[in-house]
Amino acid sequence: MSAGRVLVIDDDPQIRRVMRSTLTSHGYQINDARSGEEGLQELRNSTYDLVLLDMNMPGMGGMEACRMIRSSSEVAIIMLTVNNSERQMVDALDAGADDYITKPFSTPELLARIRATLRRLPQLPGQSDLQPLAAQGVNIELSSREVTVNGRTSRLTAREFGLLTYFLARPNKTIAHRELLQAVWGPDYGSELEYLRVFVNRLRKKIEPDPSKPLFLVTDAWAGYRFHLPQ
């Protein structure tokens, strides 16, 4: 059985070859594209579980491709880049990527990230009992991952959904950064605070009536985040 269908989008033929060889030997089904444009076309034609997207490409470039993919699909995206500046990392996550890996990387690390990104979210305690949330003009439908705020509906990506359900299971309780990262991203994570910052902001944009003044997803300075549920 295939571990997953992965689309590699990179302009360098050698990187495409390496990805194909190594990932295939670990049970993934691989296809590749030479540019953002070609990748978008490929994503329209077939379904994939994950996209490995190079950031530095001629043409539309990785960042723009990421935004375009995210605007129409919830496929998992891991960006590949040679620049490990935090600024670019945040930009990539902001553009909708789920994770980010800096070249040169080791195959085991890449595989771990792919697994973490594709991992089915663990059945959170009491998730099945979670009721659809409806408060202050916000309606979160857990079964379809849809959020409606003041009549405007948006869909959550898998990672955003995982983060939200973890919060919903622990309302009004401060959750530490590390706990959130390990629960939602996986046991290999724990210090990637920028991931949390970006994903919490993304969630706020989708579920808060005014993202700059959050009602639900509240920051507890130095400690973590808390989901404030009006009683």
Partner: protein, 513 residues
Amino acid sequence: MLSFRQAMSSVIVAAPSKERHKEASRVSLFSYKKNSRLILRISAALAFISGTTFVLYRLVPVNATTAGFLFLVSILIVATKGGLVESTVASVAAMLCFNFFFLPPVGTLTIADPQNWIALFAFLATSLTASQLSVHAKRRAREAEDRRGEVERLYALSRALLLTDSAQPIAKQIVHQIALTCEFPAVALYVRGTGEVYRAGPEDLDIEPKLRESAMRSVVVEDERTSLIVTPIRLGGEPIGSLAFSGGRFSDAALQSLLNLVAIGLERASSQNAVTRAEVARQSEELKSTLLDVIAHEFKTPLTSIKAVTSDLLARPRRQLQLEPELISIVDESADRLSKLVTDAIQLARIEGGTFRLNLGTHFPSSLVNGALRQMKSLMEDRKIEVLAPDDLPPVRVDSELIQVVLTHLLDNALKYSPPANPITIGARLSEDKVIVYLADKGQGIGEDEQGQIFEKFYRGKNERHLKGTGMGLAIAREILRAHGEDISLSSSPGNGSEFSFGLPVAAGGMPQ
């Protein structure tokens, strides 16, 4: 408040004593000339009055009243033509003539009728007043004319300063324009910011110390002997330079305006320079960061391949390790790619750093071409290469190793950027005292917008980034040719392929007779 001239005269440059002696004689010569001209004019005025008297007394005899009026007219004529002295002398002379020849008893300077005394004094007063007024009006008219000339010159200068050409130092243009529009025989401008002195005009001014002193101490230095004026140029109270000129007549106000114009012009120049410097610095920063990005990308791509393969192999359980030809060949190719990158980078750094020396020798063009082809043999495989390098071309004086590097880079480029089915032509021909070597492919060609960029380091064709390459080949080729005193040229248009060509100097004695 002191007037400008007063301020100027507060600092007078003392001339050395010998000079002063010469100066004294020069001054007396000058005043002698001036006096003789005045005597001449007075004589002319007196002659005119005598003439009038003669006409009125002898030729057309008239009565005393008519004579008085006609004398007045004569005095007015003298006053409009001459100065105050001549007209006053003429007035007195006319009064005496009037009394002697026309007022009874005629022929004497006495007057019988007391009423005639009144007439005589009225005549004198009228003639003196009229001549004063006339001279005054004349002076005002001349001054107005001077002001108009100054304003015109200042206007012309301000226009010229606005239209300065940024390719030349603005201070140089300013001083040239002042000499031209103000017709000063000599002008010099000292710019404090750069410490440079700019000169213009047919005469030469060698007064650098005075210019510096004037700018440093913000004082006006005036030398009446040579009619030289050195004056500081201030901007917001701060002296930013000084201007010296000789032989010009400028009013205080006009001179002040001129200095303001120069100050504004210099300020504009310095702010323009600052903007240019900032722009250059910004561009160089941008270039540096682009270069770093490119280097990071170019080096990290093969490293990523190697790391991905080796880390994958290392992570496998030992017993599962087996020979993976695909993975090994990826590592091998990546190592080659890194090696080429390093070689090219070192080559470029050596050439650009100027640490290499040309090992010039006499070589036949055909052997250079064939040498390069031999080096590229493994890459050419089934490609069709047409060689047009006749054996009878004269030998050239070049560094054969480096010229072969140029040729291999060009060949490598042609192989990469043209479809495998299309032939590549490499050849050489004689043109005057040079052998022109050319290399043509039938690829996509290069658009005009890209032609200037392709010789830049790390530049790679717009649609060709998927091809392997370091982006340094053409930059290396150009630098090598420049070291030979030559350059590389490109003729290409999209759809028609590209032809790179360069000249090589024919060795001395190598030209066929």
